[in-house]
């Protein structure tokens, strides 16, 4: 329960920090930290416009997407405190429940019958397919390392004995930062601020959403960021008591947000055709982690 509350709290200011970092990096003062959240609340109060082509799929998809992310967040532990839902192999459920939301978002983009939105949908499907093996290899490596198969027991059993296990934690954080960037369609894979439909991924999928639904989708993006931030923080929290781990959690979330802001400020978006290559880096880093685990366990003997 505690991690659920923490993630919701973090999601309120996360995107604000990203935006603030970007504006400072580009020499502007920038909006306040809670501005993105205020925008969302305004959207929640509005009416909506629906395309005539759409069916009920378009209306249920944003809510189902939101629910799937909430469900995923419920499974994330906070150090020694398990998430509300915790069982062996829960990360399989985690990955597949996120896919459930993605499935509905993709078909809701196709539901509009637009010539652009399918393009974004196709890219979203392709990139998330490429991310999937990285996540599973990573979790497989940690399952191998700790001998456990649930988020909670993996994270609480991660003991940083040797130098190489610190390395693994850092590499895993890199993987999760990249997964978060790709899953949320941020730079360098996708530029959420672009104004050309042909070059967008996630933004083009939701071109036709408006009002409450749009606000929900945007809030879900924030939640997803905070969720991956929480995951990263778990690599470092370990068995720390709550009075240290909670501030540490927020420090890591803030650090993650600033990193995202800096990446977005100083990197250009890749050409669409180069994105798959970039995403394959993820899988190779996860394989590195896997071989690192094999080293730690002395399986190369």
């Amino acid at each position: 329960m505690i991690s659920f509350l923490l993630i919701i709290l973090a999601s309120l200011f996360f995107m604000g920090l990203v935006v603030r970092t970007k504006s400072i990096a580009s020499g502007r003062k920038g909006p306040g930290v809670f501005q993105p959240m205020k925008d969302i609340i305004r959207l929640w109060k509005k009416g909506s416009v629906y395309s005539k082509t759409t069916s009920f799929i378009f209306q249920i998809a944003p809510t189902a997407y939101f629910t799937s992310v909430i469900m995923a967040i419920l499974m994330i532990p906070h150090g020694n405190n398990p998430g509300l839902i915790s069982f062996d192999g829960d990360f399989v459920f985690f990955a597949y429940v996120l896919t459930f939301g993605k499935f509905l978002m993709i078909i809701s983009a196709l539901d509009t019958g637009s010539s652009f939105e399918g393009m974004g949908a196709s890219r979203e499907a392709l990139f998330s397919m490429l991310v999937e093996p990285a996540f599973f290899i990573l979790m497989g490596s940690f399952a191998l390392l700790t001998g456990h198969t649930s988020f909670h027991s993996i994270f609480s059993m991660l003991h940083y004995g040797s130098n190489i296990s610190y390395m693994l934690g850092v590499l895993a954080s890199i993987v999760f930062v990249l997964i978060a960037m790709i899953e949320n369609s941020r730079m360098p894979v996708d530029d959420p601020k672009t104004h050309l439909e042909l070059t967008m991924i996630h933004e083009v999928m939701i071109l036709d959403n408006s009002g409450f639904d749009l606000g929900l989708i945007m809030f879900t993006t924030h939640l997803k960021f905070a969720m991956y931030g929480a995951m990263i923080s778990n690599f470092f929290i370990g068995m720390l008591p709550l009075e240290i781990s909670i501030p540490l959690f927020f420090v890591i979330q803030a650090g993650f947000a600033i990193t995202v802001g800096l990446i977005e400020s100083f990197m250009a978006r890749f050409r669409m055709g180069h994105n798959p290559q970039f995403i394959f880096i993820l899988t190779s880093v996860s394989l590195l982690i896997f071989f690192g685990v094999l080293l730690v366990l002395g399986k190369f003997m």
Partner: protein, 674 residues
């Protein structure tokens, strides 16, 4: 519960044969209107007759019986053990759904009276022969019913034999099924030479040497052709689109699973060092899965897409089997239990959602008369119920919670992660991690495939004009889909019931009881029960959210407008994103697996006013194009030299007979033939 009640299974076989005969008689005598009714009754009666021993076998103990055929095969052992029972129950459920759907589906073919009559006769034979396959102990009787099953399904596939391509697909199917029979016969004869018995159980008497390996390989190849492991899969994407949809549904749901049945049956008896075989099957299955789903992603014919997707799912079942075998090789009973349970559960799950999807595809085909998804679109408004069923099937087959596909995929992942730990060698760890990655990729591609299929077929606007407006199909065609969805949700929400049944099956087959660590087992069933609960709470949470959204938006303003088109307000259906464009970048990325072929003519330079031209892209099954087809071509080339034998002159045929008689005479005179 009926206690201590046993059934003589040979009586069951006799009874079903009598019901079948009566059915044939009925079908030949009644008028065209009542034929489908008679078929439904026959299939139902046969299903009830065979379900009883199956239930007895699962809840109590193995049912046996001896069928005596004094002049043919002698005394044939028949039995229904828990493994047969599991498959018999799946066969019965799917066949009943198939006949219900088919009775509505074939109504459109009133002009093909003879075809329909034949079709119904062979459907009843098809159903009962599949059940017999699971009941015979004796290898020869098994082969006979196997052959009956193949031939009757062939007759079902070529329902529209007036069409040339249907006949061609049928021929392809027939040849490949007979290749399968050749390998099976080889294996069984080999078994007979070694042990003097045709019974499958005598596989256990074989010494553990290379003989048993070769017998296993022969049987495995035979069963793999039926199941559709690569490179033996090429019949599936041809036969499924050609067959009427209820037949595709039953074939894909059940007949390929009998290949899996055969494999597990063989494995239970044979003794060998399973580790290496398990590793081979695991690798083969992962490759099969990836290959199947990659082809499914790009193909335009939606029934061929489902056929390729069947190949993928066979791969997933195979991963379970491979995992179980690795467990046997390593002496890890929990892994055996998880692996085979996952395989059996996925067999059930796949038979459910694949027949659901094929029925949905059939309804679309019946209303639009096209199998090319690029011409469809917007059907969700005209056929909402079919669309919802297809959506449920699509999500379930992608293994998404809260549907049943997730339960078996979870079990396989769980098994793979469990398999990682106690292993000492590095090769197995790497193999298993690569399998995990492969399975994850398969999940990702299946997301791509099914969002594309559902989106292009049912969503957006129509891309082409049809002769008549598509409408929702009749209730009799929807009914089996309701039944299937209920069954699917029962697997998804109370998986512990199904898991305890499969583990009962596995424990009866493999002697694990002594070494099974009960705490690990109860932990696993606890996990599975948790999944049911979590899925239920996911559904509950979603309903709650929908409710909240409804309350908030109840009084809000709602405007309907055109889809955003960069300011352009007259969108046409053809300008929508198509299925091929949806998967184009994927196809480009995996161009070594799915090769795109473009047909077009270039614009020549001096051509100032270019004429109309066409451009089309297709994807080829590379294994078929570059491996199977050249191989058959070579074989045909060699066989051409023997064509002189079949010269069409009756005189020479009489001469051949004479030669043969003389040969036999000389042979017996010289005591060469006994």
């Amino acid at each position: 519960m009926i206690c201590g009640f046993d059934m003589d299974t040979s009586q069951v076989i006799k009874l079903t044969a009598i019901v079948f005969m009566a059915g044939v008689f009925g079908l030949l005598t009644v008028s065209d209107k009542y034929k489908s009714m008679i078929t439904i009754i026959v299939v139902l009666v046969n299903a009830i007759i065979t379900t009883v021993p199956a239930l007895l076998a699962i809840t109590q103990n193995t049912q046996t019986g001896v069928l005596s055929m004094p002049h043919l095969l002698g005394n044939i052992g028949t039995k229904v053990d828990s493994l047969s029972a599991w498959f018999i129950l799946i066969i019965n459920f799917t066949s009943i759904n198939g006949v219900l759907y088919g009775s509505g589906y074939l109504k459109a073919y009133t002009h093909l009276k003879v075809n329909r009559e034949l079709h119904w006769i062979f459907y009843t034979l098809f159903h009962i022969s599949m059940v017999w396959v699971c009941m015979f102990e004796n290898g020869l009787a098994f082969l006979i019913s196997w052959e009956l099953m193949s031939l009757s399904s062939l007759m079902l596939v070529i329902f529209e034999y007036q069409k040339k391509e249907t006949l061609k697909a049928g021929l392809n199917y027939m040849v490949q099924m007979h290749l399968s029979v050749v390998f099976l016969t080889l294996g069984i004869i080999w078994l007979f030479l070694n042990t003097g018995s045709f019974n499958f159980s005598s596989l256990a008497e074989l010494p553990q040497n290379n003989h048993s390996l070769w017998i296993f390989i022969a049987l495995f190849v035979g069963f793999a052709i039926k199941a559709g492991f690569i490179p033996f899969h090429t019949w599936l994407p041809k036969a499924h689109p050609a067959a009427p949809s209820h037949v595709s549904g039953v074939m894909s749901g059940v007949i390929v699973k009998l290949g899996i049945y055969g494999m597990i049956r063989t494995i239970t008896y044979l003794r060998y060092d399973w580790l290496i075989i398990g590793e081979v099957i695991l690798s083969l299955s992962v490759i099969t899965s990836v290959y199947g789903i990659a082809n499914a992603a790009v193909i335009k014919d939606f029934k061929a897409m489902l056929a390729f997707c069947t190949i993928e799912n066979i791969g997933i079942i195979g991963i379970g089997i491979g995992l179980g075998l690795i467990g046997m090789g390593n002496g890890n009973p929990v892994l055996v239990l998880i692996g085979f349970s996952a395989a059996l559960l996925h067999t059930l799950n796949h038979s459910l959602f694949k027949s659901l999807l094929f029925f949905g595809a059939g309804s679309v085909y019946q209303q639009t008369h096209t199998r090319n998804m690029e011409q469809l679109g917007g059907l969700i408004k005209k056929m909402p119920i079919t669309a919802i069923f297809f959506l449920i099937g699509a999500m379930a087959i992608g293994g998404l919670p809260p549907f049943n596909g997730f339960v078996s995929e979870y079990l396989i992942y769980f098994g793979l992660f469990k398999g990682l730990n106690p292993i000492s060698g590095i090769s197995q760890v790497v193999l298993i991690v690569l399998s995990i990655a492969g399975l994850a990729i398969v999940g990702g591609i299946s997301l791509l495939t099914f969002t594309k299929s559902f989106g292009v077929i049912f969503l957006g606007q129509s891309r082409a004009e049809f002769h008549h407006e598509p409408n929702e199909v009749s209730f009799i065609m929807q009914l089996p889909q309701y039944l299937i969805v209920v069954a699917m949700m029962s697997v998804a929400l109370i998986p512990q019931f199904y898991l305890s049944t499969t583990s009962k099956v596995i424990l009866a087959l493999f002697p694990l009881n002594t070494s099974l660590n009960t705490s690990e087992f109860s932990q696993m069933s606890g996990n599975i029960a948790t999944i049911g609960l979590v899925s239920l709470s996911f559904i509950g949470l979603m309903l709650l959210m929908f409710g909240i959204r409804w309350v908030i938006l109840r009084k809000r303003e709602k405007v309907e407008y055109e889809t955003w088109g960069c300011g352009y307000v007259a969108p046409v259906g053809k300008a929508q994103y198509t299925g091929s464009s949806f998967t184009r970048s994927f196809g480009h990325l995996l161009s070594f697996l799915v090769k795109e072929r473009r047909t077009f003519s270039r614009i020549a330079k001096p051509e100032l006013y270019p004429e109309n031209r066409t451009f089309s892209t297709t994807y080829n099954d590379i294994l078929e194009k570059y491996v199977i087809a050249p191989l058959t071509k070579r074989t045909v080339f060699v066989l051409n030299y023997f064509q002189f034998i079949q010269n069409g002159r009756i005189q020479s045929y009489v001469l051949y007979g004479l030669f043969f008689v003389i040969l036999v005479f000389i042979g017996s005179a010289l005591n060469l033939i006994k």
